[in-house]
Structure formats: C-alpha cells, structure tokens
Amino acid sequence: MKLLKMAAVLAVTVALPHVASATELEVTHWWTSGGEAAAVAEFAKAFDATTDADGNPNKWVDGAIAGSGDVARPIIISRIMGGNPMGATQLNPGKDADDLIAAGLMTDITDLAVKEDWAHILRPASQLESCTKDGRVYCVPVNLHSAQWMWTNRKVFTDLGLEPPKDINELLAYAPKLQEAGIQPLSLAQGWPVGLMVNDILVAQAGVENFVKVYKDRDLAIAGGPEFGKIFETLAAIRQYTPADKMVPQWNEAVGLVIQGKAAANIMGDWAGGEFQVANMVAGKDYDCLPGLGVTPVLNTGGDVFYFPKNDDPKIQAAQLQLASLLVTKEVQVAFNLKKGSLPMRADVDLSAANDCMKKGLEILDHSDAVFPNDIQMIDRDSLNQINDLFTEFMANPDMTAADAQAKFVSIIENAPK
C-alpha cells in the first residue's frame, strides 16, 4: 500500500514540470570550455528571444555534458529509452546517428529544410548530405571544423637558418637537421591525435580522391596497393621522430611543445589555433597554419550538428522546429562561429573579424572540390575505432612492419559494413 502511495506521489512530481508556461527545450551538447560556452550562449540568447505560437517565451535549458560522442551516445540513448528524451542534442553526423534514425527515434525535419532551401544556402553540400538519410533530413549542421592542419613554429626554423616549411614533405626533409639540433620534428599526443595525424597524412599523400575511394567506396585495390604502401612506409619513418617516450598525454600539450619551440610542428585540427592565440602568437609571423598539411589545401567537413529526438508533446515539437530554423539564420551563424572559432555554414555572411587561419579555411570552402567528407560520414564508428586502434598501435610499436599494418588496414576496410 505504501508503495502505491509512493508511486502516486511520484506520478504527481513527474507530471509537475509540464505546468510551466514557457516552453522549455533541453539541449545537450559537449561544449564546456570558456570559448565554447560563450558560443553556446549565442544560441541560447537567440532562442530565448523567440516565442511559441501562443506568445509564450521559449527557453533554452542547457544540458552540457563534456566528453564528446563516446560519452554522449549512451546518455542520449538512455534518455530516449527511458522515455525522457532531450529536446535537441549535438551528435556526430553520419553513421553514428543512422541507427537512431533507423529505429525511428529522431524527428524528420525535411519539410523545414525544403521550405528554407537549406540545400542552397548551406555549404558544403556534403555536410547537409550527412544529415540526410534516404532523402529525408534529420539534423541541422551549425559549423565546420577541419582536422587537416599542420602547425609550425617559424622561429625554430629561422634560428637554424632554415626556410619555414610549406608542407609536410619539406618538414620531413628537415627532420634530421632538427633532430641534430635537439628539436623534435613533430610532436604527438597519445590517443586520438595519433589517428588524426595518420589520417591527415593519408589524405595529403594519397590525395582526397583515393582517400574517399578507400573509405567510402571500400576500394581494396587502392587500400592494399603500392601507393598506400608507400604512405605506410612514410608513417614508419615518422614514428622514429615521435617515439613513445616523446609522446605527451594531451593534444594541447603537443601543441604547447611547438609553441615553446621544443618541437617544430604538430598536426592537429583548427581548434589548435586557440592555443597559439592564448600564447599571443600571430599567424603568418610567429607560426604557420597549413591546411591539408600544405600539400594541397583541402579540408574535410567535420562539424557539429544538432538532432531532435522524437517527442510526443506538440509544444516541444514546435519548439524543436523553431530552434532548427534559428540555428542557421545569418545573425546566429556569425555570432556563434566567431566565438567558436569554426567556419559558418553559410557563404552569405560577413566574417571580416576572423583571423588569418580562419580566412584560409573560408577560402578553401569556396572551392567545393577541395572539401571532402569526414570519415564518420563514410564508414561506421566501429570500423573507425578499429582503424584508430591499428594506427595507434602501429605508431607506437617499432616491431610492427608497414606491410603488416597495411594488411590489417585492408582487412578492416573489407569487413566494414556498407
């Protein structure tokens, strides 16, 4: 009997929040550092300024959980399964979300996308494509981040009487001289930065076309072919510059080594730019940022997107669509991306306030052939994890031959679900 009473009390307390007049939309995301929080605040400010159909104010309820997709996915799935889904959530676009969409858990926002003509106002096209499954749109892309950057400290080279390198090949040519001078040619952090670096080198040396053929079309002939073989040899050469005892625990420490001049270069995404800014270094004067590792200026289109888990409450449904529409408006795009240090989804906005590296990125974006999809848009998370495991192992284990690594790589690509 007590239990019944308890349950009844519970039922009441659970029902209570629905009485509130403002439409509250809980949004989960993993942006928690200072700059990121400031960027999110732009979204929240814009959303709080809107009202629903009855004239009641909308309210952004922040559900920040740091730790990116690996932490977020089980939480999102649990919340949906538990019957208490969030109103909107950041998620990696692509294959990660496909399962959730297939299970019918995500709201279809195609009508809104068609009405606002997202296909034409948002670029690059690949980003909206990754939000699309079987012709239906399920998420809103809000920004672009790219991982294809090499960061070099100019002073390190000029001190040795060298011309600062313009690409990864030049850097590798300097490597012996740098080592002689007691400087690490490339700094590297443990974990995912290893996979990121290898990926960047694959793209730079094999070319975007071959990279996409392997990851997207699963072209085993290329993956196992001599061209990729040569890159694996290059990687084996690079690993002697970044032996395990020179690796640092975190990506920003690896960037820090470049800033301090203990290492000559680091390969990291565009977010590394923030570290140079904190150290008061100027792009093009104190340091260089080389997109596509300087070989060919290409960028992949990793970026952040928002999904909207299905909800029965019509008020929430309306608020979800309002938020989706708001996220890609001009003002919100500019305000958000300037604070986030990422590139906006729209070409028709004014970004004169952006720094040099951002401008370089924007330039590349204007050439659609220089933009290629992020790996998670081409291959499933499980296979990516395996590839990452392989590369981290290969880069840390001098006993593993390039041929071995390549054979394992081919077998992962072969077994990846289409």
């Binding site: 928690t32 959980i65 740091a66 538990g82």
Partner: protein, 300 residues
C-alpha cells in the same frame, strides 16, 4: 582517541623506555617515506592550481609558482564554464548532497540487513544469492546501463532522484553485503544464540545487539559509499535527470572540455574542491571507526 591510548598504555606503564629506539626510527622512516609518496601528487595539484596558465605551459611541474594566486580556486568554485552557465562547480553541490545522503542511507540499510540475514538467518539458496552478488561485483557496470534504464522506466522513476538512489543501492549492494556479512559472521555466535534463547526476534537482535556492536563496519561502509556515490558521474547523468545533475557533472564539464584549451589550474582546484566532502567524512569518521572497533573487541 585520548581515551584508548591511556587505557592501552596502562599495562606497560612502569617500565622506563628509551626516548627513541631503532624500531621506532624504522617505523617513522617507513611511514614518512610512504607519506611523501602519497603526498607528491597532492603537492603537484596544489602548486599547479596556484599557477597561471602561461606558467603551466612552459614550467617545471615540481617548481611552485613565483607568483601564486588563488584565482583558479575562485574560478573553479564560482565562475568556471560548465556549458551555458559559468557559475563553477558550486551549482551541483546541493544536488550531490540530495543524491548522496539518501543513496548512502538506503544502500547501507539494505546491505546491512541482507548481510545480517545471510550471516545469521541463512535460508535455502541464500548462499546462491550471495554468490550472484559476489559475481555481480566483478561485472563492468556499464553493461547494466540499458537494462536498468528499462527497469526504472517501468517503475516510473526514470530521470528522478529515486532512480539514482536505486542504482546506487544496486551497485553498492555486492560489496556492502559482503562487508556486513563477513563482519557479522565474525562476531561471537554465543551472543546471537543467547539473544535467541531470550526470545528476541529477528529485528530485535539486529537493532539491539548487532547494530550497536558494528559501529566500525558501518563507518567503513559509509566511507566506501559516500566516496563512490559522491564521485559518480555516469549514473547521475543518466538516471537522475537534468534537474538533479550532481556536482561531478560540472567537474566533468570543466575537466573534459572537448576542444577548448585546458585550464589545468582550474581542473586541479575543482578536483580538490569536489573531493572535500568525502575528505571531511574521512576526517570525522576516522576516530569513530578506530574507537568503535576497540569497543566491539572488548565485548567480544
């Protein structure tokens, strides 16, 4: 404490002792060396928390700041960003208390009674249940996440405080039951038998005989549960619901920020601040459990 030491010092009172013997010297040397090993990370955390970011970037981790400042502590508590809000870790403090207090009480109540039943009132299959629980303590908890989501959903408590209390009770149960079962089993059986002969009931024996004798084990169990529950992040996020997010969510949001620069000084300060509550519990309970054990031993 003073009490115990005077009592135990009594028997050897008359014998004059040298001020320091070589055995004492060995004991203190070992203790001090070990203490230094244990303190090294705390030392680094504290000096790092007093440095500025630029000092951390280039500096030696063992060298204290030339210009120490408490700014990082202030920031960690009051103004570090944990998403949209930049109000530091203090935001989740009361939620953590709201989660920890009932979770600790319920989980220890359930476990102590179960341990008592298993040790003193065995029934058929009771050892089977104990085996299940012991095996359960070796399961990586994460695989249980989804089944428990379904269970709490059907209990109608998903995303509420009772759900997170239930989850902590579930995952605390194996170790806690073991702790109590073994402790109760090691108490003299004569006591139990005498109480039964006097006609005391199941509950009477538990509350009047066993609980008073078991202060130390309850204290150990409180230490374990408070530490585990206070530091939990995953269960709080998944089962407690966004209005009840514990402090560790803020700590995680400060420490694990995805791509923004890392502010190690704030990380260190936030970690120490978050750890203060379990530390206080240790400090308070330390005396209890030592004296309690002695008291229990006297009765035995």
């Amino acid at each position: 404490m003073a009490n115990t030491s005077t009592i135990s010092a009594e028997p050897s009172g008359a014998k004059p002792k040298p001020f320091i013997t070589w055995e004492r010297a060995v004991v203190y040397t070992v203790l001090i060396v070990c203490a230094l090993f244990f303190l090294l990370p705390l030392y680094i955390m504290i000096i790092t928390s007093l440095k500025s970011i630029s000092e951390i970037q280039g500096g030696n981790i063992f060298v204290p700041s030339s210009n120490p400042s408490l700014a990082a502590w202030e920031k960690a508590w009051n103004s570090a960003c944990t998403g949209l809000y930049c109000e530091g870790i203090k935001v989740g403090f009361w939620n953590s208390i709201k989660i920890t207090v009932p979770s600790t009480i319920v989980s220890i109540a359930v476990a102590s009674i179960s341990g008592y039943s298993l040790a003193n009132w065995p029934f058929k299959f009771s050892e089977g249940f104990f085996t299940i629980l012991l095996l359960g303590s070796f399961i990586p908890y994460v695989v249980m996440l989804y089944p428990i989501v379904i269970i709490t959903r059907y209990l109608g408590i998903f995303s509420t405080l009772p759900a997170v209390v239930l989850v902590h009770t579930i995952f605390g149960l194996p170790i806690q039951t073991l702790l109590f079962r073994n402790y109760f089993a090691s108490l003299p059986q004569e006591l139990f038998k005498a109480a039964r002969v006097d006609g005391a009931s199941y509950w009477q024996i538990f509350f009047r005989v066993f609980v008073p004798m078991s202060v130390p084990i309850f204290t150990v169990s409180v230490i374990l549960q408070v530490t585990g529950i206070w530091n939990d992040f995953l269960f709080g996020v998944i089962y407690a619901g966004p209005t009840n997010y514990p402090m560790t969510v803020q700590l995680n949001n400060i420490v694990n920020s995805a791509q923004g620069g890392k502010a190690y000084n704030v990380d260190m300060a936030a970690t120490i601040l978050t750890g203060l509550v379990p530390l206080t519990i240790y400090f308070i309970s330390g005396k209890y459990f030592v004296r309690g054990i002695a008291a229990g031993a006297v009765k035995g």
